[in-house]
Amino acid sequence: MQHKYAALLCIPLILLLGCGRGKTVVTLAGSTAFQPFAEKLAEQYMSEHPNASITVQGGGSAVGIQSAISGAAQIGMADLVILPDEARALTPTVVARDGIAVVVNPSNAVSGLTTDQVRDIFNGKVRNWKDLGGADRPITVVSREAGSGTRSSFEQIVTGISLTRDALIQDSNGTIRETVANDANAVGYLSHGLLNAKIKALTVDGEACSNETIASGSYRLVRPIYLLVNGPLQGEIKAFIEYVLSDNGQQTIKANGLMPAR
């Protein structure tokens, strides 16, 4: 109790003096697709290096790039197929690759699509599941927001997509998953690492989305994940990135559903 009061009294003092920032911490920010992996990796890294302090923030790839440039974070996380011009000043390291799965509700009878069918669905040309061999129900298209790394990767690989105006928009892989899991008519796409029993991944051109097909290159929807650092790699930052690329780190990435970079 005494301590709490003391701490309360200190607040204005700290405000006045503007001091009190403790040891330097390494902050990662950016891609929501990689955030869970980064948190796990940070946890493991800190248990091996008790003096290190690593914080992980989400925010999305753009926030990752911007925070790395401005210094708000030491490491930016981005999952874009093509990095934007602003990111040119940053040192990129590919730490993982990620498959993008096309998913529907488990109650849906459809189990596979061709790339052309995927394109037609997301363009709003095919509007009913019965045209694809399913029940007579309208298709609810669910997509990511403009600027999302997953969406731009998806659209760049499928090509020719001009998203239908009727598409619901969700702002993370997890929310896509929840929306599809809650709506029997929905179709969406998300990071391969986040597949679970609440949703069903469709085959694309006959290839299932799995570790093997992604590794072998037979599954087409795959994009890289970058860690971005302003300036050369050094100190704690370098050590952490090396840890991510080490066998241990890559094993963690693999065990949780992403494909290792090496």
Binding site: G60, E86, E145, A146, G147, D171, N182, D183
Partner: protein
Amino acid sequence: MTLIGEKGVRRILLATALSAISALLLIALFIIKEGLPFIFHYGLWNFLSSSDWEPQAGKFGIFPMVAASLWVTFGAMVVGAPLGVAGALFLSEFAPRPVMRVIKPMIELLAAIPSVVYGFIGVMVLAPLIRDYLGGPGLSVLAASIILGIMILPTVISISIDSIMAVPQSYREGSLALGATVWQTIHMVTIRAARSGILASIILGMGRAIGETMAVIMVAGNAVKIPHSALESVRSLTANIALEMSYATGLHRQALFATGVILFVVIIILNSAAMVAIRGKAARK
């Protein structure tokens, strides 16, 4: 206070009184600084009137979002304002005092439930109901209006009760003594006397509705289009910013800040209109 003196107190209070306006100016400055260059670059009319929002293709039209924000806010007012004012009147004028004393703080409590909880219940309970019984994707104008309408209830009820209770008892007694029924007294005397407080509560509620972000993202579905029915999915201005800010860079990011500028202007216009309404009514009294 003898140390500081009456003049010093006045100066300190003036300084605090300027805090709100300086906060506003600071916020306006930074949002406008980030957003205005885009509006000049893209053209205000293009930005406002175009229905094409395809940031990757360099098309930034926010007309659907402006329409969506207005529709959803209007819907929330239709749901929330009558219920809230009715609740406040019933609790303050008809319910026994002890009952009101228990219920009012409970309702205020509900203002503190995070909007994301309301949003989540909207997704889990309301959207499936709408999808199954009325059709459409469920995540829709209707769902957003109902959830927002519920969210503003505590604000509307609590502040309305306060202003109704502040009406001197003698007004009511004066009216009742002239042979008016309780209801006539309420709608001819009490409501009139408490009008500015009730209006203020509705305006605060409206502010909350138009500015709500997370709950709307969760239940409105965020499709970029002008809705033709209440069952269709829409994206509000706030949702547009929050959804895309995380991945936006360059011109796209500026366009989102410009969306913020527009939101800012819409809110200032709404506020001014509301203030004129209040003042007009007060002047007629």
